[in-house]
């Protein structure tokens, strides 16, 4: 399985992005993972510990928000969530629907960090912290 590669890619990307925030501690990394991304959350969580070991991300939590597949129907023009991955049909009219509009996401949404003083305000979105994100508890 490739979850270890995915976890390592997350570690690399976050480490690189946080160069602008020296000295911070990462508490949580939040991902958005589509149902078509071929990533299993349990194995990703398992690999997360291995991938973060000995890195600045060691000890950080991983929160995964699962994104359902949404399709656009060419027949009736509706867009909606797919009911089953085994049947790519319009949820409204039932016609086959191949136009996938969501569900392939495999992205890092945000990172929760703990900092000493002097926050780098310009790149920080405080409102984002209010949003529900995955199943992990919010740390404020």
């Amino acid at each position: 399985m490739h979850e270890l590669s995915i976890a390592s890619s997350v570690v690399d990307a976050v480490t690189e992005s946080l160069r602008a925030y020296p000295g911070v501690r990462v508490l949580e990394v939040r991902l958005r993972v589509g149902a078509l991304a071929a990533v299993v959350e349990d194995s990703l969580q398992f690999c997360w510990e291995i991938a973060t070991e000995g890195t600045p991300l060691a000890g950080a939590r991983l929160a995964v928000t699962a994104i359902p597949v949404t399709v656009h129907c060419a027949a009736c023009g509706a867009s909606g969530e797919l009911e089953s991955l085994q049947s790519f049909c319009c949820p409204k009219c039932g016609e086959p629907a191949s136009d996938v509009r969501g569900g392939r996401e495999l992205e890092i949404e945000s990172v929760e960090i703990e900092e000493g003083s002097e926050p780098a305000r310009q790149q920080v979105s405080e409102s984002a912290g209010q949003r529900a994100s995955g199943t992990a508890p919010e740390v404020r």
Partner: protein, 232 residues
């Protein structure tokens, strides 16, 4: 101590995606049709590809192959028997090919001198679906011995494919393969997909496949020329 949220909003496979985009640009500029073949281990990718390479060459087309494998170079040696240029990519345990591996193995190949480049992925129906290799066409293969419901079990991969090939049709009857069910299941997870039924052993169905390849290649070249403003 304060805690803050830093928005990143970036693709986890950003590096692979960027590299794949770059490769796709090179392939399009060179006018070579690149295909990524994905299936389970044992579907017969190598046998199917060997026959495809041989028949394309017989038709005067210039075709080459990159073949991914966990450890051995057996497949590359088999494919080289077709007379086409072939290179092995050993992933050393990694269960899929990545764009970087493809890029590294193109060194010294004149892409403009090729009509087709086939990339045979590592046999795996899960992981390869996440990795763009810069291909224009992704082909999912399924053999008659695997069970007609395989597309339902691996919808992420079949949904990401542009065409599907059913292999080993010469033994379909012996294994009581239900072709209608297989087609139905493939199209349930990927509506409208083109499906080919083939036998690399007898050559059945190869003609349709080869003609489709030729058309795809022409379409690709026309699109590129249109983008470049060469034709309207």
């Amino acid at each position: 101590m304060t805690t803050r949220i830093v928005e990143l909003r970036q693709g986890i496979l950003k590096k692979n995606d960027e590299l794949a985009r770059e490769l796709r640009g090179r392939f399009e500029a060179a006018g070579v049709l690149v295909l990524n073949l994905v299936s389970s281990p044992g579907t017969g990718k190598t046998e199917f590809l060997q026959r495809t390479l041989r028949e394309l060459r017989a038709r005067g087309a210039r075709a080459a192959a990159l073949v991914g494998d966990l450890e051995t170079d057996n497949d590359a040696r088999r494919l080289a028997a077709s007379g086409a240029p072939v290179r092995q990519i050993n992933t050393h345990g990694i269960c899929h090919l990545e764009a970087e591996m493809v890029g590294k193995h193109l060194d010294g190949w004149e892409l403009g001198a090729l009509d087709y480049l086939f990339i045979e992925n590592v046999g795996n129906l899960v992981c390869p679906s996440s990795y763009d290799l810069g291909e224009r066409v992704r082909v999912a293969l399924l053999s008659v011995t695997e069970g007609e419901d395989k597309p339902l079990k691996y919808p992420t991969l079949f949904n990401s494919a542009d065409a599907a090939v059913i292999t080993k049709m010469d033994i379909a009857e012996a294994v009581e393969f239900d072709g209608a069910a297989a087609h139905r299941n493939i199209r349930a997870v990927r509506p409208g997909i083109r499906i080919f039924e083939t036998s690399a052993k007898t050559g059945a169905g190869m003609n349709d496949w080869l003609e489709w390849l030729e058309k795809e290649r022409e379409t690709g070249r026309r699109d590129t020329f249109q983008e470049q403003g060469v034709i309207k």
